[in-house]
Structures are given as structure tokens and as C-alpha cells.
């Protein structure tokens, strides 16, 4: 039943004009980066900055809007002879698949074609796409959680934006303050620990560790590499990102199972 629901949700979402625009946006941007920058690491870094800004925001807003526009229909679905569990996972997959497809087409395809031609920085290129997909899944989980935790559409949207703002801007500012204030102490380990609290930082680390552009690496990436080494560091970051997917999804699921609709 989960599969049936997911297929119908995906069919509805795939016809959304917004999803089309999102795909088209990445296609144009990725292609033009590859056209205008000769240096593949320039392309990846520009793309990284764009992904960190756009993918979480779009995933969050898209899912929150979709769920709230469809709330009454979801309730109707729950009055049919199906379990809550299958409705939850039906919507989870039904939203995830189109969003991931949008990334694969908009960013994955151009990157893959470029790799076929040049083979430069292949691991970083693959991680770029994988990182964007992980971020999509994380913010999808957060959005589902927030959507069903709030009856009020505006409150859900506001809290979603707040989460996005905190992870995108506030966190960097706080980190800077901490580093400045504690500059007398050995805070490197602390900084590494902190990056586990921010999935955006983790994706940035994941990519920067593969690219030997020391000047561009940034403080935490350097430390991360130094403390954990490349392989262990990558593994640790990916594990942390998977936990970032699992935790909000689990909270959303628990809430959904016992909620009064």
C-alpha cells in the first residue's frame, strides 16, 4: 500500500510546475558553470555554494507547501481502510522521489557528461551530487516533521524558515564568535564536534576534503582532515548525514502515528 500511495503522490508532484522550474534552474546553472569556468574545481566550488543555499530552502518550502495544500486530502486518505504507517511512508517516498529526480536530471546529468569527457575530480563530483541528495532528504524529513507538528500553515512555514536560517547563517556566525572568544584554547576538536550539528557544514566538509585546495578549504575542513584523516573523515561525515536524515524522519513518524487529525 505504501508503494501505491507513493506512486500517486509522486505522479501529482512530478506534474508540479515548481518542480519543473527547479530542475530547469539547476540544469541551466550547472551547464553554464561548466561552460564558463575552465577549472573543474571552480565549477564544483561554485556549485557547492549554490547547492548549500538553494537545495535546503527549496526542499523545505516545497514540502511544507505541498503538505499543507494537501492536508485535507491526507486526512481523507487516513479515513480509508489503510494504516497510518503506509500513509506516512507513502508521502515520504512520494515526495522524495520527484525531488531527487529533479536533482539527478538538473545536476547529475551535466556532471556525469562532464565526467565522461574529463574525469577530473571524479570523487568530488560524485560527492557533490550525493551531498545535494542527502541534503534534500534531510530537509524533507525536517519539513514533514514541522508540517504535522503545526496546525497553522504560517507557523509551520515560519519555523521551517527559521531552521533553514539557523543552519545556513546563524550557525556560521556563532561558530565564528566561539572561535574568536576561545582563541586562547585548543578548540580545534571542539570545532570538529560542532560541525556534526550542521548538515550543511558536513556536506561542505565532505566535498572540500576531496579537493586539495588548501586556501579554499576553510578552517574546519583542514582540522577535520587532520584529526580524522580522509577516509575516516568521509565516513564520519556520511554517517552523521544519515543520522540527520533518520532523526527528523523518526520524530515525524512518531508524531504522525499518534496525532489527532
Amino acid at each position: 500500500m505504501t508503494g501505491k500511495i507513493a506512486r500517486w503522490v509522486a505522479r501529482d508532484v512530478l506534474r508540479s510546475i515548481w518542480l519543473g522550474l527547479y530542475t530547469f534552474f539547476f540544469l541551466i546553472i550547472t551547464l553554464s558553470f561548466f561552460t564558463f569556468f575552465d577549472d573543474p574545481s571552480r565549477v564544483l566550488l561554485s556549485l557547492l555554494n549554490l547547492v548549500l543555499m538553494v537545495v535546503p530552502l527549496v526542499s523545505m518550502i516545497f514540502v511544507l507547501t505541498y503538505l499543507h495544500n494537501n492536508r485535507n486530502f491526507i486526512v481523507l486518505t487516513l479515513t480509508q481502510p489503510v494504516s497510518r504507517r503506509s500513509v506516512f511512508w507513502g508521502y515520504w517516498w512520494g515526495l522524495a522521489i520527484p525531488l531527487q529526480l529533479a536533482l539527478l536530471v538538473g545536476m547529475g546529468l551535466p556532471v556525469a557528461f562532464h565526467l565522461l569527457a574529463h574525469r577530473a575530480l571524479w570523487l568530488a563530483s560524485v560527492l557533490q551530487v550525493v551531498g545535494a541528495m542527502l541534503l534534500t532528504q534531510i530537509f524533507l524529513g525536517l519539513a514533514i516533521w514541522l508540517s504535522f507538528a503545526h496546525e497553522d500553515r504560517l507557523k509551520a512555514l515560519a519555523s521551517g524558515l527559521l531552521v533553514w536560517l539557523s543552519l545556513t547563517f546563524l550557525y556560521d556566525g556563532l561558530l565564528l564568535v566561539v572561535i574568536l572568544l576561545a582563541s586562547a584554547y585548543p578548540i580545534e576538536k571542539f570545532a570538529v564536534g560542532l560541525s556534526f550539528l550542521n548538515p550543511l557544514d558536513l556536506v561542505r566538509l565532505l566535498l572540500l576534503m576531496q579537493m586539495d585546495v588548501a586556501a579554499l578549504m576553510g578552517f574546519t575542513a583542514e582540522v577535520f582532515k587532520k584529526f580524522l584523516g580522509n577516509a575516516v573523515g568521509t565516513l564520519a561525515a556520511v554517517t552523521a548525514l544519515l543520522i540527520w536524515i533518520a532523526f527528523p524522519t523518526w520524530m515525524a513518524f512518531r508524531n504522525f502515528m499518534k496525532k489527532d487529525f
Binding site: 500500500m1 501505491k4 500511495i5 500517486w8 503522490v9 505522479r11 501529482d12 508532484v13 506534474r15 508540479s16 495544500n69 494537501n70 492536508r71 485535507n72 486530502f73 486526512v75 481523507l76 486518505t77 487516513l78 479515513t79 480509508q80 481502510p81 489503510v82 494504516s83 497510518r84 499518534k258 489527532d260 487529525f261
Partner: protein, 237 residues
């Protein structure tokens, strides 16, 4: 047949249903009561949308709690009808059929509500009244023994309203259990055989239309209900 025993529902510190015992036998029952008296909460408990703290609910003799499959006996039309925007009318009705694992010939239903020309149009294009009609079809098309309709006639044009009432009488005569709410009591006047009056989470009256008129000495349901509300110290809304 729907049987509710000792139902208690609290939202946080707000107690909405305070021990509700009521039986909905075959026939049309009007569930009435002022705003916020708990009508929707009672219906949602029967549908498993709301999880009560105490009490039990049986539909066609089977317990509701923890048994989603019991809802195959129930057709439901919510107060606010809404469907996915990018799917067509036909696809939406197919989706609902998929959820039930039941195939129904859609054609007679679509022509019953006069929506033949909209079958392949995305749902986003359809107006509020049209959505209402599709909601009605989704509730009625599975020929379930129990029908729960929350404010079904709000927003319907007069012709659809008449057709709808005809249909409800037809379904009643076929022995179905039908529960209706409406804030316009005159809407239910020609339709309801029985009345359940809910006030502040308690059943104040449960019985046939005649018994209600007898009990209150009023000429019609509207006046009888108004009388009951005054008797119980509630403002008429």
C-alpha cells in the same frame, strides 16, 4: 450500525467528549449541537482520525481501535473537501479506489454529479461546489453500509442538493447507517429519522424525530433543538 461506549476525548487539558454513549442504528441520524460541542470530534473518533483516551467504538460489530481495515465499511465526506491539484478527476477517484482495493465503474457516478466534461481536467481547475460533488462521489461510490457526512450540503447548488437528498433517502431505504451533521437544521428536517443532540461533550437527547418533538412539545426540529439548548443553558447559535 455504529456503537460508541464511554467515549472520552481530551485535547491536552481540554475535555471535548465526556463519556459519550450512543448508538447509530440503520437509518439517517442527525448529529446536532452548537459549535465546539464535539460533533466533529465524535465523527473523527469513529473514523480513527482522533485517538480517544477512554471508551470503545464498534462499526458493524468490529472494534475500530487498531483496525484500519474496519473502515472498508465506512464512506466519509469531510467538511472541507480537497484533492491533489495536478491530478485529473478520474485519477483522483482511481487513487481512492486503489486505497480500497476496489474497482468501481466511474461513469454513472460522474454523470450523476454532471461532471463528464471535467473527467480529464486537472483538479486545480475545479470550483468549490464541484469539489464538494467529487467528495460526495468518493464517499458514496463504494456502497458501504455506513456513511458519515460532515456538513455535506454546505456550498451545493439547489439542484445538486435535491439530487443528494434523493440519494441519501435511497441509501437509507437500502438499510444503510447514515450519520449527518449540519449547522442548518432545516437542511436535515426532511432527511433525519433520528436525532442525537450533543452539548459540551455529553449526549443530551437521543431518539426518533417524533420522540424529540413529543419531548419538547415543539412543531419542528429546529424549534425543538433551540428549546433543548435554552433548557440546558446554552446560547442558540
Amino acid at each position: 450500525m455504529v456503537e460508541v461506549k464511554g467515549l472520552v476525548k481530551r485535547y491536552g487539558s481540554l475535555t471535548v467528549l465526556r463519556g459519550v454513549d450512543v448508538t447509530f442504528p440503520p437509518g439517517v441520524t442527525a448529529l446536532v449541537g452548537p459549535n465546539a460541542s464535539g460533533k466533529t470530534t465524535l465523527l473523527k473518533s469513529i473514523l480513527g482520525l482522533v485517538i480517544p483516551q477512554e471508551g470503545s467504538i464498534h462499526v458493524m460489530g468490529e472494534p475500530v481501535t487498531g483496525h484500519p481495515e474496519i473502515r472498508r465499511h465506512v464512506g466519509y465526506m469531510p467538511q472541507m473537501v480537497q484533492f491533489p491539484e495536478n491530478l485529473t478527476l478520474k485519477e483522483i477517484l482511481e487513487w481512492v479506489q486503489d486505497l480500497r482495493n476496489v474497482r468501481v465503474d466511474l461513469e454513472p457516478w460522474v454523470s450523476w454529479v454532471g461532471l463528464e466534461e471535467f473527467v480529464d481536467k486537472p483538479f486545480g481547475y475545479l470550483s468549490g461546489g464541484t469539489r464538494q460533488k467529487v467528495g460526495m462521489v468518493a464517499a458514496l461510490m463504494f456502497d458501504t453500509p455506513v456513511l458519515i457526512l460532515d456538513e455535506p450540503t454546505a456550498g451545493l447548488d439547489p439542484l445538486s442538493n435535491t439530487r443528494f437528498k434523493e440519494k441519501i433517502r435511497e441509501e437509507r431505504d437500502r438499510g444503510k447507517t447514515i450519520i449527518l451533521t449540519s449547522h442548518i437544521l432545516s437542511e436535515l428536517e426532511g432527511l433525519a429519522d433520528r436525532v442525537v443532540f450533543l452539548l459540551e461533550g455529553k449526549i443530551i437527547f437521543e431518539g426518533s424525530r417524533e420522540a424529540l418533538l413529543d419531548h419538547t412539545g415543539k412543531p419542528d426540529m429546529e424549534q425543538a433543538i433551540a428549546y433543548l439548548m435554552q433548557e440546558n443553558g446554552s446560547e442558540v447559535r
